[in-house]
Symmetry: none
């Protein structure tokens, strides 16, 4: 049982692995596994490894709660019957947060072929089990080299800055009224494809504590984004990437989550969808100031051979839609430029 | 889709919408979504909107519990990959109950085509969170016109009468012994297709409180009815309609539900199945008087093009079976007559 | 990412690990994870590792199908929020079968405590993807020592003998008629607690091929056995052990599985339940000769501190019931004797 022995977590390289066969319910009708299924598995590995780590030296029992996910790319779609292997490792700790890096491999157990499908970086904070509003200190890990630690510190500072910024911004967000009366809408407009779903938070969404696991929320966000994308292009779609998502508020068991999506930008071969999450404490408490999680999902459309199909251009109608389209274009060009720079560096 | 436009909940017309892609596990092997999946979604929308409403003006925290579902028709089967949109609206409130009307649309997001698949009416009562045996008063909604209110009042009185009647009747019901030794039974008899399942009530069946949500029970009832229908005709079957169901008793987490079904009547193109629900409080308490929920499900069989297939006639053997067949025939003819009257009025 | 590198299967010790947080839906109302949840995870690890292995040297694509599970003990119950780590390793191969040994550890990620909860041995055969009735040859593994190989060969011969025997026996089994009319039954009799469920096989039960994964069947068997046990003693129950189970027939997608259980024996602190599985090919084909999988599950009842509670004695009424009680007693005493012999050897 070497595998078992390995999973005993030893600092610095706390690591663990979650594996599972992809089932029909994990996939769309073309057999491509939903990005949301992968995001949920990634977060499950993250919450296990960081909760385990935070309790190592603490007297006070605590649980890790997802604070942020960095931008992540889906390198190739997974299929029903393949085995997803999600490996997570703690790569940095600050006083109050844990960075987890995750690799996802898809294995075709019939051909033996394995390929990397995702890399993701997640940030967790530890909350006390006795008092869920209290942030607990995180034990430090040991680094392979001072450079590793310094690199981690830089990543930590960068994400911290971004978190503060989006928190301020999110307080200004007015959640859009997503109107589903699409029948009188013109195809390819924003109004035509925008969509919204609600989910009643049940016990199995909250296994470790009384709050929704971040992965559950991400799965719902991907589901809405996917419906928006399919409505726009009317062909088979898969998640290509997710921009960084910050989680500023805990969502309690028994709440109703409303997740809404609208298309913001299309390039020749991709669609960008903005997703909003709103929480409604159905039972009791008067509605607090709207929590607005927002994120950008990018989708592509694939034919049966897995080749990217052209995307019909989004028809913007209002000034706001035109502005968001331009902002999306800027994000698109920035990402493209970064990817090309990365590719050159690799050579 | 007026309901959708109103989805910002403002009295008088509190409304909301639940949307979800239909997955392989929601459907039978021919790809037709189970009626039970739809019934469960309908009830989820109902419980959210009515719980939210009842907590609006109450000091006392409360949850809405399903008391009754009116007869509902399944106008056309839904398929895997389609998006189900369930729109719910509060249409009447009495002192202690809430009427919710629900529309279900199926959207093929590839073709953009939407069609109405169901209309349903549900009645909820609000129970105190502190004391689940205490019925709480319901805040009133504002009506568009005095006529709307008067119509609602009539619907309220009619269902109240029916509830009282069936409650009395249900106390007399002797639950049938459903024998699973089918091997020596003759095909097309009642004994050949009758079926029974048990379900241990788990946490996800009870998201808002410690009682099974009505939708869960309806899904199990549809599951048994579907198996009875398939065993009889051995071809692809779909739910065509469900008669009104009254819920007289709360079912607690940890109970075992036994759901049994037997065929009562066949016409040329339809099968009627009577379904019984029995609750067993496994842990602790001695068994109370059996609560007997009963309902009639009507199924049709469809070929690959969605055309109704002929149904083998039910072979009745005992006097009771012959009597139930005649009663089923009366219900069938009544419904047919009503539908034809309705169709003429529409012209 | 050492974990990832490890999971590349290299003969002789092909190994892999499946991990997951235990959720409320995996557990009973007292928070104890169902034995069936564990059995399903064990089988998932087994089917992955053996399918992967069988395709290594084969030109012909094939899938591993569960043929047998050896007797397995549940050493301590798992709880919601704990992480189950299931490690599987191929330990023997014959010409046509693969032996997989599995260890299950429960980890409390808050305290860091890990404990062994199960050991299991599974046997798989490989079927061709093109022709599911064709058994494919299995590549050989390399053994650490000739003794290892010899030990494996002995285990192989022993299980083969048992498989042939039970196959003959199962053809004679007459499936019992499980009567759900329990209301007139006397408590503590066989008839009082016997139970039966039906399950319509859906796509997610069959991820790798068009047949039910063995783990799905075992989970249903444990579910029925647990309900029988709870109905008998009316206190919190957990799976203590499962006797060897042989799977003689593939179960196709779209079938209806009937799983029935009846109590056969009680000791002071344990209950033995016999479980029958029957398959009904609802669609199309005339019903073939009944395949009868049978197995014995042993349950204990635990109080809040996890201490075993006394079990009310089973009241046997018919000659058959008395005979089965004596047979159960023999199995119970044999197992007890073996366990004591094992304990002495360990000293």
């Amino acid at each position: 049982m070497e595998g078992a022995a390995k999973s005993l977590c030893q600092s610095p390289g706390c690591s663990m692995q979650v594996s599972r066969i992809m089932r029909p319910d994990d996939a769309n009708i073309a057999g491509n596994v939903h990005g949301g299924t992968i995001l949920k598995m990634i977060e499950e590995a993250g919450v296990i490894i960081s909760t385990r780590h935070c309790n190592r030296q603490n007297e006070e029992r605590c649980v890790a709660v997802l604070a942020r996910v960095e931008r992540t790319d889906f390198l190739s779609p997974m299929s029903i019957g393949e085995v997803a292997h999600v490996s997570a490792e703690i790569t940095y700790t600050s006083k109050h947060s844990v960075e987890v890096q995750v690799n996802v491999m898809a294995e075709n157990i019939l051909t033996g072929v394995k390929r990397l499908t995702n890399r993701a970086t997640l940030w967790y904070v530890a909350l006390s089990m006795e008092n869920v509003n209290k942030v607990v200190e995180v034990p430090h890990i040991q680094y392979g080299s001072p450079e590793d630690q310094e690199e981690g510190r830089k990543r930590y500072e960068a994400q911290k800055l971004d978190r503060i910024e989006t928190k301020q911004r999110s307080e200004d967000i007015i959640l859009p009224a997503i109107n589903v009366d699409r029948q009188r809408k013109e195809p390819y407009t924003v109004g035509y494809s925008q969509s919204s779903l609600i989910h009643l938070v049940g016990p199995s969404d909250c296994a470790l504590h009384n709050f929704v696991q971040g992965g559950v929320t991400m799965k719902l966000m991907d589901e809405v984004a996917g419906i928006v994308a399919a409505r726009h292009c009317k062909t088979n779609i898969v998640t290509a990437s997710v921009d960084a998502i910050n989680f500023h508020q805990k969502i309690e068991k028994g709440s109703v989550i409303t997740v809404s999506g609208r298309m913001t930008f299309t390039s020749n071969r991709s669609m960008e969808i903005e997703v909003f999450v709103d929480v409604d404490h159905v039972l009791g408490r008067p509605k607090e100031k709207a929590s607005a999680v927002t994120a950008f999902f990018t989708y592509v459309s694939l034919d049966k051979e897995g080749k990217a199909l052209p995307i019909p251009m989004l028809k913007t109608q209002t000034e706001d839609e035109k502005r968001r389209f331009e902002e999306g274009k800027t994000r698109y060009l920035n990402t493209k430029a970064k990817r090309m720079a990365g590719a050159q560096k690799d050579q």
